[in-house]
């Protein structure tokens, strides 16, 4: 037994024993333990295997700074991958497993990889797996590497609440510095919020139990009650994960395993950062062995958990307070050697069990090494806020320099460790008086020795990056620190280099013959610690982000047995009756062609353009000429982007000289509205033209088919339907409400869109269904409509068009050549690219008799010089119930000039044949539309 529990020290509740399993074996711990402290107390040293080489790994740090002890946890039937053993509170009955280890961490069959390490240097993946194809190797590597595995036991309802709060002074970190600052600020009348990521406030206070007469717990409790008495608030288990633009701070409260965190967003007037500092590893041979831990980890495990991490401890550190830690450990019963670390790298001896350390020619027997090459202030939040750093030669690290005036960094995070200096800084920050001089503090440099890369000296434990890898990156000319990082993956693991960055930078600087500040640091980005994605998302998902738009007629559709589906943000009937989509769609298509389809067209975007400049406006935003559209007439047209690309298609009706009604794709109404608003305010007098989205004010019942005219006649909306031509508009009344009827067709059949205010929608729908019944007409859903459209070769923008499609690619070339007035996108239609003859153009495809339909996405190919090349692809494909054969639409290079030509279709390794046809496959003469 190396690690063990001693005396009564720690913040544990020793009356509550918890039982848990680690790699199948049962262990005990106390309420207040972390998984790591309970295992260390039980003498466990090996927590897992390393990421790349499967080296046995133990615990380095006692809190978030531990890069090694990552475990999988099962509890209550739910699997939690990627848990930090040092940060996970022990829960009775939890099942803990080591990662990267099979069958267990103690006995890892893949440990053989370690012996093969000389074949896996930095950049190995990049170099070796480029040829012939990375994908050949990927499954094997993914299986062997990676931290933890995902499981199907996903927890339902794991939703983080995101709250918005305010305080005047936010103090981050509840150690001696933060407690002092929060107390002073609260006493000065500020509304204070103090947070600390531990379950208990106090920070480093517990390490030196003799520095206050009543003990550290008493001092901490006294500060907390003073803060709360003065109106301040405190939140434990709460981490500030990031500081964002305009003084925003996100803090995340951990609520234990299986409970989603609570996220609070604040914009405090002042932020005091008292996040402390963490030990840097000493770079020496085999410094990753289980039993090599940080100096502070040795002190923390003792102070918080009553765990003495070893019996015979060697301390390898340049920290002046190392002897204080040594004294604590000796007090607790350990034998301690305080060794002077030399520039000649030390070497840890022993594989699974540490046996000793070799320093300056002498071997010291030990079971534990506590190492520190100095403290690294946690300046992450300061950097998030745009604060600058200075290299401090005395401290051998970066410390905050200039930055935002609303943020103050105090205590360890500022490189200040001496208690009275910490308290002075804290009070000054709380009262916002001028910043005290940084006190003098000096340690002897203890940096990686790049002259001696013998053995294996770890820089980044979590990503298995050694000093040799850094040297290799340098030899291969990775001159910038950002290159070093990406090439070696140093600092790119879950710990984001909290412990490894300085050693990596120091090694790089040494190799380049530069000073560390000349090499610079990489960017500090939120989050400070890994947080579940739910912490970002909160409740913002699905309909919370994009509320589903509901039709006024939804109850009518449900009553008719509609299968409802989401189309462009609207919940619409997909088809009516039964679960058999295919036969329902086929029979609806037949109803539409033989009698009439009765459809809910309310989702179609309806935008009114009103005002004296309305005509000029629509003429400008449409590709097609609208200057001569007469009152009562309707015209089909395209809106383009300024790049000449098809943005939306639809019809526009002229009501009178000052009023036009635009119909746009239902999924696109918001985007079209924004597009029009942009041009209205940019190029027009906004007082002379107004646009208004009326989509949700009106309901539209569309009746389309050979019997449509008779059914609409029966509704009595218009006195007569005589001479009511296709593409015209009339106004009438339905019972007591105004109504308008537009002769517009999406199916190629004679069609009437009857629109009424929502209040009359149900009556209109029921009347239409009743009037249709004797004719064999009935309700038709969105799926059948898609087929009916495709039979006619009517495009769906975004499905049958792509990000390069211009209107002339769709066969609408006239306005491009003839329209003289300016319009959006006009000049883009005359570039070299727009004039190319091999542009992808919109055509139909037919297959040979008896062949099945073509798959959507299948490529039309040609073979050139023995290589298959794509000419385009299938955009829509259906079995047409009307034509009793498959139909397809496609974008094909030069397709409009290739009618009747056979083409080869390639899909998933299979080749088929098809023929290019016009896009319209049904009623090519257009005889039915005015029937």
């Amino acid at each position: 037994m190396t690690g063990h529990r001693i005396g009564t020290r720690g913040l544990l509740d020793r009356s509550k024993t918890l039982s848990f399993r680690f790699d199948g074996k049962t262990y005990q711990g106390f309420q207040g333990d972390t998984v790591a402290s309970a295992l260390l107390a039980s003498g466990v040293r090996i927590f897992g295997r390393s990421f790349k080489y499967h080296r046995p790994r133990g615990v380095w740090g006692a809190w978030f700074d531990d890069p090694n002890a990552i475990v999988d946890i099962k509890h209550g039937g739910v699997h939690y991958p990627n848990c930090q053993a040092t940060m996970t509170q022990l829960v009775d009955g939890m099942e803990v497993r080591s990662v990267n280890a099979w069958p267990t961490a103690q006995k890892d069959l893949k440990g053989i990889l370690d012996l093969a390490q000389r074949f896996m240097p930095a950049g190995f993946y990049y170099k070796m797996f480029m040829w012939p194809d990375w994908h050949l190797f990927e499954p094997m590597i993914r299986k062997m590497a990676g931290i933890g595995t995902l499981s199907a036991d996903v927890q339902d309802d794991f939703e983080a609440a995101i709250l918005h709060e305010h305080c005047e002074t936010l103090v981050i970190g509840g150690g001696p510095a933060g407690l002092t600052a929060a107390r002073a600020a609260a006493k000065a009348g500020k509304s204070v919020l103090l947070i600390d990521d531990h379950p208990d406030f106090g920070g480093s206070s517990y390490r030196y139990p003799n520095d206050a007469a009543e003990g550290p717990s008493y001092w901490v409790a006294e500060q907390l009650s003073a803060i709360e008495d003065a109106g301040g608030r405190v939140l434990s288990s709460t981490t500030a994960i990031g500081v964002y633009d305009h003084q925003a701070v996100s803090i995340v409260t951990d609520r234990g395993l299986g409970t989603a965190p609570v996220v609070r967003k604040l914009r405090p007037d002042n932020v005091i950062v008292a996040t402390g500092a963490v030990d840097r590893p000493v770079t020496f041979s085999n410094n990753d062995r289980p039993g090599v831990m940080s100096l502070d980890a040795g002190a923390e495990f003792l102070a918080r958990f009553g765990v003495l991490v070893g019996q015979q401890i060697a301390i390898l550190s340049n920290r002046p307070d190392a002897h204080d830690v040594a004294a604590q450990l000796e007090n607790a019963g350990a034998k301690v050697d305080l060794l002077d670390p030399k520039s000649d790298p030390a070497k840890a001896i022993g594989y699974r069990n540490l046996k000793g350390v070799r320093v300056a020619g002498h071997t010291y027997p030990c079971d534990t090494i506590l190492a520190s090459a100095g403290l690294t202030p946690l300046v992450h939040l300061w950097r998030h806020a745009g604060g600058k750093l200075d290299w401090d030669e005395g401290r051998q690290t970066f410390v905050p320099s200039t930055g935002p005036d609303w943020m103050r960094v105090i205590g360890g995070a500022n490189g200040t460790y001496e208690r009275s200096a910490v308290e002075e800084e804290a009070r000054s920050a709380a009262l916002n008086t001028s910043r005290p001089e940084r006190h003098v503090y000096s340690i002897s440099p203890l940096l990686p020795n790049t002259k001696n890369t013998e053995g294996r000296q770890w820089i980044d434990f979590q990503h298995d990056v050694t000093l040799k890898d850094v040297a290799l990156a340098h030899r291969e000319n990775m001159v910038s620190v950002e290159h070093l990082k990406r090439y070696t993956t140093l600092g790119m693991a879950g710990d984001q280099g909290k412990t490894s960055n300085i050693a990596g930078l120091a090694a790089m600087a040494d190799l380049k013959g530069q000073r560390i500040p000349e090499v610079g640091t990489t960017t500090f980005r939120p989050p400070f610690v890994p947080v579940p994605l739910e912490a970002y998302r909160g409740a913002s998902r699905d309909t919370q982000v994009a509320p589903l738009k509901r039709l006024t007629l939804e109850p009518e559709h449900r009553a008719l047995g509609a299968a409802l589906g989401e189309y462009g943000g609207w919940l619409r009937p997909a088809w009516y009756g039964g679960d058999d989509e295919q036969s329902a769609v086929a029979s609806e298509c037949k109803i539409a062609r033989d009698a009439a389809a009765i459809m809910d067209g309310s989702a179609l975007g309806t935008i009114e353009v009103i005002g004296p400049d309305a005509r000029a406006f629509v003429n400008f935003v449409y590709y097609n000429t609208m200057s001569n559209l007469k009152p009562g007439r309707i015209r089909y047209g395209f809106m383009l982007t300024e790049s000449g690309l098809v943005f939306d298609d639809g019809v526009i009706a002229c009501v009178d000289e000052t009023r036009f009604i635009i119909s746009c794709s239902s999924s696109h109404a918001d985007a079209v509205m924004a597009h029009l608003e942009n041009w209205r305010q940019d190029s027009f007098d906004p007082d002379r033209v107004h646009i208004h989205d009326t989509t949700q004010n009106w309901s539209t019942v569309t009746i389309a088919g050979p019997k449509a005219r008779a059914i609409v006649d029966a509704l009595g909306v218009l006195d007569t339907l005589d001479d009511f031509a296709h593409m015209t508009l009339r106004f009438g009344a339905f019972e007591d409400v105004p109504a308008r009827v537009a002769r517009v067709s999406f199916t190629g059949d004679s069609s009437f869109e009857v629109s009424v205010p929502n209040s009359a929608a149900v009556r209109l729908w029921q009347r239409a269904i009743a009037a249709g019944k004797p004719h064999g007409a009935g309700p038709v859903g969105a799926e059948a409509l898609v087929v009916l459209r495709a039979e006619k070769g009517y495009i769906i923008v975004g499905k049958d068009t792509e990000g390069e499609t211009m209107p002339h690619d769709l066969g609408f070339g006239a306005p491009r050549l003839r329209k003289s007035a300016a319009f959006v996108g006009d000049r883009s239609l005359h570039t070299e690219n727009a004039n190319r003859e091999d542009r992808k153009q919109f055509v139909g495809l037919s297959v040979e008799d008896g062949e099945p339909k073509l798959p959507i996405g299948a490529h039309i190919v040609t073979v050139q010089n023995g290589e298959r090349r794509s000419l385009g692809y299938v955009t829509s494909s259906h079995d047409s119930p009307t034509l009793e054969r498959p139909i397809a639409l496609a974008l094909v290079s030069g397709g409009l000039g290739a009618m009747g030509q056979p083409v080869e279709i390639y899909h998933m390794g299979k080749t088929r044949r098809a023929t290019i046809t016009p896009s319209c496959a049904f009623d090519t003469e257009g005889a039915r539309i005015d029937a």
Binding site: Y244, D245, A674, Q681, D682, R827
Partner: protein
């Protein structure tokens, strides 16, 4: 999350706004000859100034476009002005 001040609605969260473009660009008169270069400049090229910039933004909730001057380095908002002419 940044906060911008809509000249009509006041201080609101960044998520309510969209960037529309740099201020000061004029659409070429396309009824006259416009060279490829001139059109490409208008369509694709921006100054992308480091430091104080003048941009057009839209507050999507009220749909009004306005001029925002801000510092692209510090993210400080220097001011916002309506594009509307005065209708006294």
């Amino acid at each position: 999350m940044q906060r911008f001040s809509c000249p009509f609605c006041g201080l609101r969260d960044e998520r309510e706004f969209h960037f529309a473009g740099e201020a000061g660009k004029t659409r070429p008169d396309t009824t006259q000859d416009v060279s490829d270069k001139e059109w490409a400049n208008y369509l694709f090229f921006c100054k992308n100034t480091k430091g104080p910039t003048r941009e057009i933004w839209v507050h999507t909730t009220c749909q009004e476009y306005f001029i925002m001057e801000r510092d692209s380095v510090t993210m400080e908002v220097l001011g916002t002005t309506a594009m509307r002419k005065d209708t006294a």
